[in-house]
Symmetry: C2
Subunit: 784 residues, 2 copies
């Protein structure tokens, strides 16, 4: 997507903000929560009725008068040049209102990988993967649009493609980009200490090679937008995790001021990193709408989404661990190779973070190598790189534990860190619940007993496994500006730029206001995810939504409370500090009979509204904020069929204070399911020998776990270290840390059940049978 100077993300932003002096944080004088009454309860989503009744309007539900439907022509070849394109017949077909080709105005704007040094355009005649956009049509009906796309006559020069890592790195491989090699720059080394000395000091070493498959984004709502021009202003209803990044992308792509772009995303049907920003579809829709002077709906098909919208890249990893006999790690050597597809050099992003940071170890070396291939692009995917890194590291830790004769939980407990060794400043963690997750999780799971009693004979074998993880983000990422309003009838509302990506953001936002203002949760409205009416914040991704927004919401609510108590104090002729709020009333703490019912409070009615603004400024504690998780899995493996079934599961998470225990648990369950997919079934299969196409770009052949496959009623242990340093809401992110250890925990349970290890994900029946036939099977080579 388009390079974005304004909407900086994550660590870079935090550092930049810390430099900006005098930034009002709005939270500086507010002590962090310790005990809460509403926050932490199990509450159903405040929009549950709309969601289950079908009245919630998702972007794909938007219907505008005169709206056209668009379809996109995509390259069917892994690598080709468009020699000739004739859309004249398509343009004359019934219902066709606009046709966009690479020659159309605006279609030549740079796209991957950004404005500087781009190699691709919005619509391009040099196609580098099967799915690259070439042209688009808008027509009165969807089928007219699809028919018209088929009627565009294209003459391709089909070029040789390469979709495997090794093949791409081979001499004389077809060039994906213009460089002399398909390697995206030099391998990136990161580490600390003296690894050679670390291994020399080791009393035990283990080494292994592991790999994961390519996991595709399969959100229930497809990627797409409905767009409308109001004169010079664009309005887009886009299925997104963040409306503000998309506002910026639309503005830059179409050369509009930000104020002429309104992006709305009140509901969205799932996003796990692929909806952090709009895609080519949004800008194509806007250009078609401009041409036709009509609103345009462009939603990608499921097949196109699976080809082109992004993925968690396949990675090949080698891990070597050195340890003392007591389990103390002395050295970690880690290398990985992956591909971001045809345009992105980010294929291994985040993969090395767990080797760098999860365990205390003075000597660490990591090397990451990225390769271009003729395939669809990588995209952030729930904990980018981390589940892959966990897949390798946590299996290697189990192998090490076995070699040491230690319990896997005990080995991990031996190496719990208290500083972030991956960070240059070696900052202390504000809290790490890793040890508690290990001990409490093991105790609740019945780890010791289960590990001991598992029978290792018979055709169906049982095993238990454990894996730990952490997430590099999750500490919150300013900016967030929140407005809370209390109106005359005692109801309140929250104005929040963040998207609710389905995990209950609106609900805990209301709970925070309820906590501070004593307004019932069902009397709190949420206004959100609309660039025209809410305030800038980053996308809801990186497990940063709770720690970013919650402190600002709380600060805004407290400001409203201050104003309300000032009015009430004047009315009751007491000092504001003598007052409390609960159940829709303000009362004198020492004499609750002296009370004001807020919805009958005349000075409030006279003001009409009290408004509080809360800002989440940059962290100033100079410490590292990270969430942690440890997962325990019990599996049955049928040694006759190779099928793996998860029988029992426990996730122990330290994400700080729980906002809503119900949606907390739901998010962990979803995370486990996604890890299960990575571990057992999900894998993009490409036609490496011939066309370079994705062969399983559909939900039948690409197997996402369904309700029948998913773990039944996992036990979830919420570890709360009462972290009053991380932020005033005492909370950390959850969405990604709960995904990271899942696949590795399942792999370790399978290895425990079988006595042999399947090192390549997904652990398909065939791989199980192969492993049983040939123990110690190495990684099967190139993956894509």
């Amino acid at each position: 997507m388009i390079c974005n100077d304004v909407a900086l993300e994550g660590v870079e932003l935090e550092a930049a903000l810390a430099e900006a002096l005098n930034t009002p944080t709005g939270t500086a004088d507010i002590p962090a929560w310790t005990d809460t009454k509403v926050v932490g309860q199990r509450l159903p989503k405040i929009d549950a009725y709309e969601r289950v009744s079908g009245t919630a309007v998702y972007p794909s539900d938007i219907t505008l008068p005169g709206m056209l439907h668009a379809a996109v022509l995509r390259c069917p070849h892994g690598h080709a040049r468009v020699k000739k394109l004739d859309a004249s017949r398509a343009a004359k077909m019934p219902g066709v209102r606009a046709v966009l080709t690479p020659e159309s105005p605006g279609a030549d704007i740079p796209w991957y990988p950004g404005e500087k040094g781009y190699v691709s355009r919005l619509l391009d005649t040099h196609c580098r993967f099967a799915g690259d956009e070439i042209a688009a049509v808008a027509a009165d009906t969807p089928y007219q649009a699809f028919d018209a796309v088929r009627a565009i006559v294209v003459e391709y020069e089909v070029l040789p493609n390469v979709v495997g890592l090794d093949a791409a790195l081979a001499p004389n491989a077809p060039a994906v980009l213009d460089g002399p090699t398909n390697r995206a720059g030099d391998p990136r080394a990161q580490g600390r200490g003296d690894v050679a000395a670390g291994f020399a000091a080791a009393e035990v070493t283990v080494e292994g090679t592991y790999s994961t498959g390519t996991q595709l984004h399969v959100p229930i709502e497809l990627h797409g937008a409905v767009v409308r021009w109001d004169g010079p202003k664009l309005v887009a209803w886009d299925s997104l995790q963040g409306v503000f990044p998309a506002q910026n992308t639309y503005a830059r792509a179409l050369a509009l001021p930000l104020s002429n772009v309104r992006v709305i995303g009140h509901y969205m049907g799932g996003g796990f990193g692929s909806k952090l920003d709009t895609g080519k579809y949004g800008v194509i829709a806007a250009l078609l709408a401009k041409q036709a002077a009509r609103p345009v709906r462009l939603f990608m098909t499921r097949e196109d989404t699976m080809r082109a919208i992004g993925n968690r890249p396949a990675v090949r990893m080698t891990v070597k661990l050195g340890a003392k006999k007591d389990g103390t790690l002395t050295a970690i050597d880690f290398s990985c190779t992956g591909s971001g597809g045809a345009y992105s050099a980010g294929g291994t992003g985040g993969v090395n973070w767990l080797p760098l940071d999860l365990y205390r170890c003075p000597n660490v070396n990591t090397v990451s190598t990225n390769v271009y291939i003729h395939a669809g692009p990588e995209r952030p995917f729930r904990g980018p790189g981390h589940p892959q890194g966990a897949w390798a590291l946590e299996q290697a830790m189990d192998t090490l534990a076995a070699k040491l004769g230690m319990d896997p939980v005990a080995l991990r407990l031996k190496n719990v860190p208290d500083i972030s060794q991956g960070r240059q400043d070696q900052a202390r963690y504000t809290s790490t619940g890793l040890a508690t997750c290990l001990t409490e999780g093991a105790k609740t799971f019945g780890w010791t007993e289960a590990r001991a009693r598992v029978p290792q004979a018979g055709p169906v074998r049982r095993g238990v496994g454990v894996a730990a993880g952490m997430w590099r983000g999750g500490g919150g990422s300013p900016p967030a500006t929140i407005i809370v309003r209390l109106v005359a009838d005692g109801t309140a509302s929250v104005n929040m730029g963040a998207s609710d990506i389905g995990n209950g953001t609106k609900t805990w936002a209301a709970m925070i206001v309820a906590e501070e203002l004593g307004v019932p949760v069902d009397r709190i409205g949420i206004e959100h995810a609309d660039t025209a009416t809410t305030q800038y914040t980053g996308a809801s991704g990186g497990s940063k939504t709770v720690p970013t927004e919650a402190p600002a919401i709380r600060a805004a609510a407290i400001e409203v409370k201050r104003q309300l108590l000032a009015l009430a104090a004047a009315d009751l002729k007491v000092d504001a500090t003598a007052l409390s709020i609960a159940d829709g009333a303000v009362f004198v703490t020492a004499d609750p009979s002296k009370r004001i019912v807020i919805r009958q409070f005349r000075p409030l009615a006279q003001r009409g509204v009290l408004v509080g603004v809360g800002v989440r400024g940059p962290d100033t504690h100079g410490m590292a904020v990270n969430p942690w998780g440890v997962h325990f899995a019990e599996v049955e493996v049928d040694t006759r069929t190779g099928l793996v079934r998860i029988q029992r599961y426990l996730a122990a998470q330290d994400s700080g204070k729980v906002m809503n225990r119900l949606t907390y648990d739901n998010q962990v369950i979803g995370a486990i399911t996604m890890g299960q997919g990575l571990a057992l079934t999900e894998d993009r299969i490409m036609d490496a020998a011939h066309t370079g196409r994705v062969l399983n770009a559909n939900m039948h052949d690409y197997k996402v776990p369904t309700a029948l496959d998913a773990v039944v009623a996992p036990v979830i242990v919420a570890v709360d270290p009462k972290d009053t340093t991380c932020n005033i809401a005492a909370t950390k992110g959850l969405g990604e840390p709960a995904t990271i250890p899942a696949a590795a925990a399942i792999a370790n349970a399978v290895a425990h059940a079988l006595g042999v290890r399947v090192v390549d994900a997904p652990i398909s029946p065939q791989r199980v049978l192969d492993a049983l036939a040939a123990p110690r099977t190495p990684a099967k080579g190139v993956r894509s």
Copy 2:
């Protein structure tokens, strides 16, 4: 409409707010404007393109999928009871989806005159004017709905009606309400001093009787709404002057919490008091939509609007003035009688204010009598009562001047007040431009010359006249809460609850932000008039929008500026007080080369947005804030046809600081035109003898001045007394004060031309001819 405890209006609200201690004003520490660069310029409306191109979406333009169209059955009789109503055939007609009768759930909610002591319901079987609502239908198309309404079979008991003031007060007149008489309570007396003594001290007295016609609301966009239920929540697009009063009315009528009602009114096609709140139509539409589970559009027809939506009531007035020979007023005796129609007792509201307050006079007595008649209701109408009062008082002043042998301007100048004698506290005015309006207006108009040179012979006679006026309101009416935002690309936006009723509110709001933040006006977005996304404020009426919102907008912009300068000061390593803002940049005042271009300012990009909240608290200066105006007209009267043509016109207004000179002038032109209608052509005619119906409920028979009739290029003198006390924007209201003297100025010019006076409005050709035939013709009796 429904009684409204929450949304207090005007004077009552101000007094109540002044009591509420510790109310943050947000403006307390900000000095009032003296000089401005942007504010006061002539700028076209920022939404001019949308308005003229047809892309602006008015409530009547809203089309929703599945939307039904509604029509209303109204009583055709001036007074009747519904004995039997059968809607069974209508309900079965093609396309009919919902039918509402007086028996339907929710149709029995109390309506006029409010919750306590109501005598009417939303749909009622006792109809008290021809136009009262009885039933309603929603169908797939408008014509299906109209047909279905006609298919409702009603058996009426037709009762005797009374539509004239004298007839209604006669013994044994048909009772409009249940009381023993049609007089709405005792006549209300207001005054001061000793009027008898005042007349005893007078050296000259004059006395006269005057009357005005009933002026109907004829906004270009009809009254109506499109409503939709989202589960338990109602959304209404309603053509309104204020979305918040309507939110309150919908909520009370439908027993919903405020947070479950969203009212949106981004555009609206004219409102002059009849759109301060929603009407029965809105609630009827909501009930139909609930029944049909479909969105419903209910816009009144033009005919129904003219029958039922409200009017400026006809008033009969008697004035007696006493003065010393030098023109000093010694006594005013004023009485008036009017009707609010069938349900409202407010027929004479505001009529006595000019006699009480316009001129310095120690002894004043006023008596106001209200009568119920079987006619559609009065409604606030641009300066309620004031143009009628001016019609009588200002003609009497001219008669007095003639009797004294004084120039009319000189007589008025002699009696300019400096305290508000109508107010109990006799507060001083923060400013009164009355004298300046008289002198500057007369000078610019060439009053003395014109008054002297007018020939008084020949068939076409010329005359010039003057009249003064003031508006009781126009000082601003809290609350107003404004949010201003500055975003990363240097554009800004204003979040404002107030409606832009077509007079440029959005434009001057942007100009105020441009003034303070140096952002170009066309880079400022406006978010307004939406109860879900903007903050509570009263309706845009009472000439209070500018003085209410402008100070709060300015305060909010100044808060954003404070934050921006703090960031810039840190960046430039100077004190914030050393900085200035202009043309999209912050610079060191003493060294403008040290500058930051706001849209490239990294700390702003990192914050994403700066938010400022501004609140207009109650006035604390204890003074009276009122706007003033003096109008000069030159007319030609054809003594053969009785036709009056306005040849030349000048309006001198003191509304304090001008926000936008272009829209200021436009608003004055509209006001003059409305006064012209009252003076010359507009008059509801009722069938007093028989049906009680309005006989000219259409735009052909009810004559609103059109572009061909209106005064060409009136001269507008904007008097600015640099009132830094009234509020921090140094500004007062304009919409109503510019209407108030217009009709009287025209009447005085006609009298000057003819030598005889037409005392009844409108000055129709017949009345001119009658007056020429029988000089000193008295008022023609009962008007309705």
